[in-house]
Amino acid sequence: MDQKALQRAFYGALAVLTLFAFGAGLVKAGGEGAAFALFAVMTLGGGLVCVWERSIVRSAFALMSTFSGVAGVFVLLESDFLAMAQILIYVGGILALILFAVMLTPPDMEERRLPRVLAALVAVGAGVSWIGWQVAQTAEWLVTSRPLDGTAAEVAGTFGANADRIGVAFLAPDQYVVAFELAAVLLTVALVAAVYIARRKRTDIEPQTGEGVS
């Protein structure tokens, strides 16, 4: 099949879907709905492009859209600290490292087919979607309303206190301090292990270089 035409059809369908979602969100829930539609399309569309795109570097760049979309959903859920942490860590840190690694691979990977387990993947995706749909139907959502009409000053006092609350929750002895410290220890162990593996490999390959490499 003609790969170029397939690609063009894919991007066209994505654009149409974006417009449709945007309109539907605007009609259903006003500005907030439109914002949610935008972030949802960014998240899912980025993921689709990441899987679909033939160039592996483009796939990595598509992840930026996914991460930013998730951050936007966090903002809509009034969790601004998580949103900014998502951007700082995922877009600014992890994505940069992914790109760094990807650029060390061969430039043109022409043969980048969807894996042979396509059917299994589709089945898993359908299953997850079905469970999500069931949860969305049956769960009792806690709904808070935030007016977008400029009279929101009375609720503005509660925003931005997220960082304080998260900080207290992490370090208060009766809340999440054990989990927080365990995560810290885990990350330190991972860091030390990574350094150990990297150092050992280098001495295996180049035993005599000494000071020059560091």
Binding site: L38, F61, D80, F81, G93, G150
Partner: protein, 398 residues
């Protein structure tokens, strides 16, 4: 020919999303633009149109601020470099060449817009817009006075750090999509350097954040006001002795983050032609420079908010006592104070650029990971102990 660049539209769209995110947080409750629009709104205009219009106006103002900043900074850079090298710099266009940036802008707009044949066209076009858009989003958190700002929510500095860190992705995109080895080398250096120096940058900022007890730029500035005037600024050792080393670490880190000499390895002219922007020309090329100069200014403003008193200065105090709190005179004093402090930092960065030689990439990495990061951690530990055990007993800190 003069063509409309899709990049401009794209960057303003991204900025719209980012300002909308931050604006929604604030509820626009106290924003000056919003209040003004609510006052003049006719009956038939629906209520939800007000925040959208306010976002549009805010985007326009931020774009204007960034463009004027970049124009003035390019002129300043050429004059500073000229005088440091015993020459005049631009002298022909206007008085002492002050119209030179305008002439340059017209030239760049009229220049042929080239896209290399082997380039990845989509990414090549998106990259400069992405770089500029990240910075415009971060500029939304920069308050011009205590009552005139675009997004005043609890996470001011955190938002600036998060959004400016995403410019890396744009630079890497530009370097890769150009399909040139100079560009790719520059992009790889940028990715390595920025990831390395983000850590000491964030950690050294923790020291003034601990002293102020807030991420919010306006609150940090207010915390440095008070009866002792200039002696209340965070930088003094009697406020916290670990503040000065933290500032030195911060300044080195922002030099590396903004790709300024001696850390300008991503665009090192003498070895990599122009680094990640070798293939760019015309208005897209100028986007990278607008980003660089605006980022310099933004980081210097952040430094003056957290270490050098923010809005507080003798000028602001005088304006406040003459005109009254939050009067127009007071706001003018505060705005000019913060802009002057920002440009003092920018001048220092330019001075350093023409004084220090470029360091090697392995020296950059060694410095970032082996020296700056541990030193920043020591600063945070010491400052925390000081704040916990000594600061409560100091009469000038209460």
């Amino acid at each position: 020919m003069l063509t409309f660049d899709p990049a401009i539209g794209f960057s303003s769209a991204v900025l719209a999303v980012q300002s909308a995110e931050s604006g929604l947080k604030d509820g626009f409750g106290t924003n000056a633009i919003q209040d003004f629009l609510v006052g003049v709104k006719p009956e038939y205009v629906p209520a939800w149109a007000v925040p959208l219009t306010a976002i549009g106006i805010a985007i326009g103002i931020v774009l204007a601020i960034v463009s004027v900043l970049a124009m003035f900074s390019t002129w300043l850079e050429r004059k500073v470099s000229g005088h440091i090298q015993c020459r005049f710099g631009p002298m022909r266009v206007g008085w002492h060449g002050w119209l030179q940036p305008l002439a340059d802008g017209v030239k760049l707009l009229l220049k042929e817009d080239m896209i290399p044949l082997g380039a990845d066209r989509t990414l090549y076009v998106i990259a400069p817009a992405l770089v500029l858009a990240s910075l415009l989003g971060a500029m939304a958190a920069f308050p011009l006075t205590e009552t005139f700002y675009f997004a005043n929510f609890g996470l001011g500095i955190f938002m600036i750090l998060a959004l400016t860190s995403t410019t890396t992705i744009g630079v890497v995109m530009a370097g890769w999509s150009s399909n040139s080895k100079w560009s790719l080398y520059g992009a790889m250096r940028e990715a390595a350097q920025v990831v390395a120096y983000e850590i000491p940058l964030g950690i050294s900022l923790l020291v003034p954040i601990m002293v102020a007890g807030s991420f919010n730029l306006i609150e940090v500035s207010q915390g440095q006001g008070g009866g002792y005037g200039i002696l209340n600024w965070n930088i003094w050792p009697w406020v916290n002795p670990f503040m000065l080393p933290a500032f030195v670490l911060f300044f080195v880190a922002i030099l590396a983050e903004t790709k300024r000499a001696p850390f300008d390895l991503p665009e090192a002219e003498s070895e990599l032609v122009a680094g990640f922007m070798t293939e760019y020309s015309g208005i897209r090329w100028s986007f990278f420079f607008m980003e660089e100069y605006a980022a310099m200014f933004l980081y210097c403003v952040v430094g003056s908010f957290f270490f050098f008193g923010g809005f507080e200065s003798p000028v602001t105090s005088l304006a406040e006592s003459v005109g009254g709190t939050n009067s127009l005179l007071h706001q003018l004093g505060a705005a000019s104070t913060i802009v002057l402090k920002g440009f003092a930092g920018v001048f220092l960065m330019m001075w350093l650029r023409w004084t220090l030689p470029r360091v090697r990439i392995d020296q950059v990495m060694t410095m970032g990971y082996k020296y700056l990061t541990p030193l920043a951690l020591v600063c945070v530990l010491g400052a925390g102990l000081w704040e916990a055990f000594i600061a409560p007993h100091l009469w000038w800190r209460s």
